[in-house]
Symmetry: C2
Subunit: 342 residues, 2 copies
Amino acid sequence: MARPTVHDVARDAGVSLATVDRVLNARPGVRPQTIAKVFETIDRIGYVRDVTAANLARQRDYELVFVLPEGHGALARKLVGAISEAQRRSRIDRTNIAMLQVAMGDPHAVARTLAGLNAATVDGVAIMAPETPQLRDAIRHLKENNVAVVAIISDLPNCERDEFVGINNIAAGRTAGLLLGRFVGSNPAEVLVLAGSMLARDHSERRLGFDQIISERFPALTVLPTIEVWDDAARVEALLPSALANHPDVKGIYCLGGGNAGLVKVLRSHGLEESITVISHELTETSKAALMDGTFDAVIAQDFGHVVRSAIRVLKAHRDRIDVNPSQERIRIDVLLRENLG
Amino acid sequence: MARPTVHDVARDAGVSLATVDRVLNARPGVRPQTIAKVFETIDRIGYVRDVTAANLARQRDYELVFVLPEGHGALARKLVGAISEAQRRSRIDRTNIAMLQVAMGDPHAVARTLAGLNAATVDGVAIMAPETPQLRDAIRHLKENNVAVVAIISDLPNCERDEFVGINNIAAGRTAGLLLGRFVGSNPAEVLVLAGSMLARDHSERRLGFDQIISERFPALTVLPTIEVWDDAARVEALLPSALANHPDVKGIYCLGGGNAGLVKVLRSHGLEESITVISHELTETSKAALMDGTFDAVIAQDFGHVVRSAIRVLKAHRDRIDVNPSQERIRIDVLLRENLG
DNA sequence: ATGAAAGCGCTAACAC
DNA sequence: GTGTTAGCGCTTTCAT
């Protein structure tokens, strides 16, 4: 038996196509009892709307916007690459994707960018930004105008975002800690932690998870205070050597993200590739090469392509008022070793 | 500027819609020069076909078939679950998914199942089966009738399948070996390997990769001959204890897949959860619990949900003659630890 | 070998 | 409040 269509619903409910359509799209101008009658028919005959036909008739594309930090760092480049790829693919499926890069240092700039969006045409916004009061207001405003909002990579738990697409960073930190602990072994040793900036929510959450598991399971390890490197190779090269000199017992380094290039350079120039276990974050050209040649022992990552596609699906589902497949949208914490880089 | 449509192509090329359609769908009855003219116009104005509108007009669903082993094992159950989930979702996107379970012991039964498919209505087949001459013939026959074929989980490299959707099992074995080696440490020790059946291509490839890396990087480890457990808990309980008794230096166990339940039982009853490092395959209720309580140290897995969705996308793309996004269809070798189970 | 026209499931003027 | 109708981009008879 063929799938029921709006025609079947209209006939069975004894109303016209237009009325069915009004009910389906929650448009005004239908008597409550008519609405009820239509809904009753819908789930009696098991009607489910053909979204693609609807989009065809509507002649309306999905208008999506990605807002992200205007970074030069490897992470930003990777993310931009994944979005560009999605833009290229999107031509065939009625989807327009805009990408806006904003200086994240200035909360007002972020808010202005969001405020500048035309809520009448934009269906959804995916955003990666630090949580500020200004951002919170800007997101609330978008939601009031019926624009879907998802946070990506780094969550905005106190904003009215519809969804978060990214990994659980506390769990990521715990994963890193578990690997570091097991790789280093059970003899007493010190561990150094490098961070881009502890202001970034993802970095501080990773650090939290890392500390949790080290103290739970690896009491022989001493974690030294975080060195903040501002995602800047020069700073790594300036600070790391002296830290290593002051702590000759360092057997492990955990890099929370950012600064991989500087880290690799220092390890090489000091001939420490072999003797120190290094766990880092994000798969980039640098970290991949470091994994291949043994400088890094593991990289914790998330698949940016997946994050971007997932954000797009969630945003579209929101506009179409259909639900997502949670198992498809769960972003995994990838553990990358030299052997499973594939 | 709006996306060009068939109308634009027809007008610009000075032909009718029907002719454009014939060219687009490679149907006969068009003069070569007309074909050329249409194609010229198509890429001059940058026309790209709207697949959803085409499907709407065609009134044709995607008819897909999954063929898999009629197993009771945890792996089979997981796979069936993932396919059922896809079936549930498929109602809304013009996709009918059939699932056929076959006794894989009998190559003729598999071939008969494939031969029984109506090539006129079936668009694509996803199959997990051991490679046999009979299967090879059956697949060739499908391909001759324009049915798309993908191998899933376990590749069929000598068949004319269009694509393989699954992990590189040699790399998976290497990944397992690397983790086992690093977790066990550098003192001399023995390692036990458990296999479902060495006839299964995926298991033998994993073993190969495992042996490679152990000999390359962990010379202190001695890998004992494989114990074949036929995916049977009773066999594990019968064979493993004596193997452990004969080899008191066993510090690591690598389970290639299947038999997790028996393995866990033996380890518990011998009080070896802590002292032996265990790496296994596939995320199931059993292996998840074993990871949580520390009996297993790592599980190498592939996301069956992803495999199934990916196979569906590839099969559809094939019917629509469009290309897939390779990065979306690459199945990752997941390294699961207690901390990143999600 | 080519074209005209109807129709897929849905939406949106516009009419009543 | 509700119905009629044209049309989205494409395919497919049926003519010519």
